[in-house]
Subunit: 326 residues, 2 copies
């Protein structure tokens, strides 16, 4: 049994220093949130579980950052500015005070980076794996949230950053790619462990993107979610334009099969989005303003479905298109 503070001293020692306005120092049953005038609140909740969403030997700091960032990524895809979050922490038998200290430090670092504060939550002990549910709150001007629905025939399709890295990073953590250069291994595992929520880009795309989603299940699967919520349209992706990092190329090359692997690989937390062709220049300006690389990878035409077109002009097999939990 590891050394662990009582519930109340744990909150006082590790979490109260992270608390923001409306949290009442984490001494109340609930928190209050004041939404700026003319804005509405955007809320999202995501759970991460040891052994499912992160590895049992991941550092507590990285676990904290991943738990927070997957939620911030949802706010990013909606164009929302982060405000606060609730932390529901179910601790397993191995998480003691030393673990909690490092976990809280990870949250503190990210609170500074992303401008968000802890406002409440719940701590419980579980006989199962460490389980963390974060509920994140953001604000958007009323009616300006970027929706999944809204893509139309004729739209262009974009994605930020590079895809496939987190999946390759998980492979590295599972002892694949043993001959890959150390710098590439580090780059890939960092993408898996601590994704970067594209908050500045999401906000810059308000009023420009017709639909957006963060790439968690995989590029093809997540574009599928946009496609399902569109009135119609076939989403045609040009495999040759899918952005791959040097590390991913070093691990997998650039064959059609490698690209298809990147396109169905999850956990990258980039933003995939659509925009009218007339908005192309505004998209590129928004990307520049947000200092975030964005690549045009395809378009929406008449039809239904998501197609990844390979170098021979034929659609590549993408199976179920990405990760599903069940």
């Amino acid at each position: 049994m590891v050394a662990r503070s009582s519930e109340f001293s744990m909150i006082a020692r590790f979490f109260a220093p992270l608390a923001g306005e409306g949290a009442y120092g984490l001494t109340d049953d609930a928190a209050t949130v004041r939404v700026p005038a003319g804005h509405e609140l955007v809320v999202t909740a995501d759970t991460v579980i040891e052994g499912v969403h992160f590895l049992p030997n991941d550092r507590p700091q990285a676990v904290a950052q991943k738990a927070l960032r997957v939620n911030l990524s949802d706010l990013a895809a909606k164009g929302a500015a982060p405000m606060g979050y609730l932390l529901a922490l179910s601790l397993g038998r191995k998480q003691g005070d030393a673990w909690l200290r490092e976990f809280a430090h990870g949250l503190a670092l990210d609170q500074k980076t992303f401008g968000i504060l802890l406002i409440g939550g719940d701590t419980t002990a579980t006989p199962g794996p460490l389980t963390i549910t974060i509920t994140a709150f953001g604000a958007v001007r009323r009616g300006r949230m970027i929706r999944r629905a809204g893509a139309k025939e004729g739209d262009l399709i974009f994605v930020s950053g590079t895809v496939g890295d987190a999946g390759a990073g998980l492979e590295v953590l599972r002892y694949k790619h043993p001959r890959l250069a150390a710098k590439h291994r580090a780059a890939l595992t960092a993408r898996y462990r601590t994704p970067t929520p594209r908050l500045a880009l999401g906000r810059a795309l308000q009023g420009i993107a017709t639909a957006a989603i963060d790439v968690s299940d995989g590029l093809i699967a997540d574009l599928g979610h946009i496609a399902e919520n569109a009135k119609g349209g076939a989403f045609v992706i040009d495999a040759a334009r899918i952005p791959l990092s040097p590390a991913f190329r070093a691990a997998h090359g650039t064959s059609d099969a490698a690209i298809a692997r990147a396109a169905i690989s999850g956990d990258d937390y980039e933003i995939a989005f659509t925009a009218r062709p007339s908005a192309r220049a505004r998209v590129l300006a928004a990307a520049k303003r947000a200092r975030t690389p964005v690549t045009e990878i395809g378009h929406v035409e008449e039809g239904r479905g998501v197609y990844l077109m390979g170098s021979k002009g034929r659609a590549l097999p993408t199976g179920r298109g990405g990760f599903t939990h069940f």
Copy 2:
């Protein structure tokens, strides 16, 4: 392995019918919440875990209702009117479609009873026990949330309903009290399985209660939380005035030891609160308006701590005062 729908068809079949405004039919990454003018949002999150907060053989409908109600109870204690909730559901291996149907039915029933709608969440699969985190949203007029802090010397102490029932109900479920009458057994186990959030009372106490908390850890422990957040004062409870149900009396009697047991027993989800002596008539009128029994059980005097005074005028031992997770 039980039969279980894919993540997306699960959401469409069981949860989309529960979705309210701002949920976008549960097809988006996030939900939006519009707070009524002049109000602020009250947010709270609580986790319930199979084998910790409910029993592995509890019916899915009751599990759903308990998960929701423990959160509604926090809103009740703050005087907030429920608006919506996020459901983060981590399913174990045993929860299939049949389980999900009954679970969703339990949520549907409570949504009608308490006027709250599902607005989003997350579904994951866990190798551990079924784990449910609900984040509930409510509204109060700006600045009117009833806080834990605020009790003062001279205040009277009140509690709603009866205490000790949920703890005795758990004993019944653990095969104690075998000779207790069936109606009492049913009454006690119902208190454990499906607590009643005191929403009407909480709202009626806005501007009247100086501090409030819901009784989840136990009456003495939870009054302790109010005491810790007060500027000072000894909370003196008259054991003879602690409200006990006929079922609890039948199970445990009314000795000092029985009362002390009720006072340190958790999970009743009553509201314990304080008010100025001059507000006594307003408290009773609020209780009547809310159709909720309320009993005056003590007062705050000079000093520090929480004291349960027995029939011989001596403080009864209450140990650590209630349930702690760690």
